[in-house]
Symmetry: C2
Subunit: 436 residues, 2 copies
């Protein structure tokens, strides 16, 4: 049987770290499968690296270049896979590629969390694909299900554990009782934390992902700057132990929520360590794993679970996008781009209804609970649970509240901190994953 | 701002049961959202019902018809949503619609599990979409992630709880200790089991889903007839109690696996109740919930969890497909269709490596275990665990084996049944979800 062979699809890979190396390996090792799935050969035209002198295993040196800018506009390149990371040069390279009519696949959450608007416009202008499944939760399909599978539904909430480093640290602290610094050092030794862990432990990585998830879930433009963000550096083993007494664990959550105050619909996007009840599906997600819970009007509660980072899992998401973009090149058409028609505003954290967990060192004398309770009552915050522990210098009072505006909650805590009978507010966390 | 309004996308809905009613409601209530997401108005052209005289709530009687055949070829219909169920008339209606150039969305697992080949060909011939996300696991995005998100990966295994009725029954039996018949009656009262529960409890519904999952996961044609199938009607409360002693629970699993014997790659697709260890992610999926675990070479283990049935969840999957098909009508292009290039053969159950759990009523005398063990050893099946319980007439021996071909396992059981010292083999189940 002789048929006209379809034109090959040329691919340029920018960056050859863990993920890039794995993507290049798949393009080689699985060439026959990819060709069958795409309907045309998928050919690696070039790989850009920072240091040409470093050995690159089995990669043909003829495809290596240290000039990504030339690579992204080459005539024989149809799809650019950006795996460099960071804002520049990826932003310029991707925009250039899109304007030159190339489809783009990227794993770059920091970039997509801030510049998805201009990049989507460029993609729409050239009628090409811009896919970024790997930007959130690694191998776990979350972006495509939200954009496509739930396209006929109304998403009300997305809550996820989307940072493996911090989840590893919190899981270890919970399991071993060790303190933050100790476990962070261990995470570094095991390769779960980078040399500079700031982006992870301060919540910035999760915040970028929250921005992306909120944008697509609510068809609105949400950028990383819109996301309220607290990290895990202040979490102590005491917090985890205390959480257990309320049948809770502590997780760094990315939460994207539709909130409706006085009939005006807004979005909340926030990242912070929070108590969640043991029976919540995210409570049992441990170690470096990721999971995302989506609540939609018709679908109800869905959960997606898997490996959120690492070379091979991230490469799985990248090559999935690559095959879909290549297929669109062969058959025509393109996948959905950013949709921001709903244009919902982002509410400041002060306006968001939250529940608080407040742990205080208090004077060991009668009447302290009464005074603290009065302070919450002043702002109409009702108390859900109280524990008093220890005695003398170790007297401790823990209060868990019902839902109220975060501003009222935080102002109450500020007032409590000034009370004579409260020696120190040692810990303030929010409580998530409950219905009341 | 005046721009040329895009041509509306006309939709015909066939069948107005739970799901159809919900889909029609979404088309009406969420018309503005759907229009924004599609890029054109989505207009309900007609709804076919069996009985025109039945009242249909708020649905405009002008769109109702009892003539689906005319509806699917109407000029103003772009997309046909088939929610009738069963093989005929849906098979003919869908084929006719596809040949007439309509895109089709269906929730019909029984049909897709047998006739996806001819229907995909018809869709390809007209260059239109054929989507069926709702056919497996209701609202849970599984089909699209497998076809699209994992398009660059190699799936090795899909294992799922894909039938809510049987999972409800097994969960209840496990929790309450009640017996099968009792719980089945309760499931009927609660609306979790149909008046004729055969398709659910005999595993046929799950087998249809297994065929669909195996086909897309392994890029091969697998039909319902290729799926080995056992139901749950023989499961007793004793089995569930005994499973607990091995730190296991019993679930009706749909398993699709790549098996490699003597270098020849084949597929196994099978449905049966199996013991799975408590720590397996499917073990905690209870009640009417569904979950699917996918294991892929690069992605590792992923899990998808949510509501597998019901009007609203199923409608969520249907309308998601509908929006994507409508979007393709507006922008051009179409989604991926069935891909069967790998054409892997399906292995008979006899050839599949399985682990067995065998519970026997035995004579209460020395040497019985030795004789039973010898029977397994004859076929080189190694034993993983043994329990001897009770005495006299209630003496019971339970054997759990390591992996061996299902034929060797079943022949061993047949031989054991004939032994003088074995009064009765009371239960034979397989053990899944272990690595050894």
């Amino acid at each position: 049987m002789t048929t006209a062979s379809p034109r090959p699809i040329g691919v340029a890979v920018l960056g050859m770290g863990n993920v890039g190396t794995e993507v290049v390996r798949v393009l080689t090792d699985k060439a026959a499968d990819l060709q069958a799935r795409v309907g045309a050969p998928v050919v690696l035209r070039g790989v850009s690296v920072r240091d040409l002198s470093r050995p690159r295993g089995n990669v043909d040196s003829a495809v290596l270049t240290d000039d990504p800018a030339s690579l992204v506009t080459r005539d024989d390149v149809d799809i650019v896979v950006e795996l460099i990371g960071g804002i520049e040069p990826p932003r310029t390279l991707i925009r250039t590629a899109l304007q030159a009519g190339k489809s783009v696949v990227t794993a770059n959450k920091a970039l997509m969390a801030v510049h998805s608007g201009e990049l989507s416009e460029a993609a729409a202008g050239s009628n090409v694909d811009l896919y970024f499944e790997a930007a959130v939760a690694g191998a776990i399909p979350v972006i495509r299900p939200l954009i496509q599978s739930l396209a006929g539904d109304t998403v009300n909430r997305v809550a996820g554990i989307v940072n493996g480093t911090t989840n590893f640290i919190l899981s270890e602290m919970d399991e071993t009782g060790a303190d933050y610094d100790e476990v962070l050092a261990e995470a570094g030794r095991l390769g779960y934390a980078e040399a500079d862990p700031t982006a992870d432990v301060e919540g910035h990585d999760a915040a970028a992902k929250a921005a992306i998830l909120a944008s697509i879930a609510f068809h609105s433009r949400v950028t990383a700057n819109d996301v309220y963000c607290e990290g895990i550096t202040a979490i102590t083993s005491d917090d985890l132990a205390a959480a257990k007494k309320f049948d809770c664990t502590v997780k760094l959550l990315a939460i994207c929520e539709r909130i409706d105050a006085d009939g005006a619909e807004r979005i909340s996007a926030r990242v912070y360590p929070a108590l969640i009840p043991f029976e919540h599906p995210l409570a049992t997600v441990n170690g470096a794993f990721n999971a995302v819970v989506v609540e939609a009007e018709n679908a109800g509660r869905l959960m997606f679970y898997g490996q959120g980072a690492g070379g091979a899992p991230t490469a799985s998401a990248v090559t999935g996008d690559l095959v879909m973009a290549a297929r669109n090149r062969v058959l025509g058409g393109r996948g959905p781009l950013e949709s921001t028609y709903a244009s919902l505003p982002v509410a400041p954290i002060d306006d968001v209804p939250t529940r608080y967990y407040v742990s205080m060192q208090v004077a060991d004398r009668p009447g302290v609970l009464e005074q603290v309770a009065a302070e919450f009552a002043k702002r109409s915050i009702s108390i859900s649970a109280v524990r008093q522990e220890g005695a003398g210098e170790n007297a401790r009072l823990i209060v868990v509240t019902h839902r109220a505006s975060d501003l009222d909650q935080s102002e109450t805590v500020a007032a409590i901190e000034k009370m004579d009978s409260v020696i120190k507010v040692s810990s303030v966390l929010r409580l998530e994953g409950t219905n009341d």
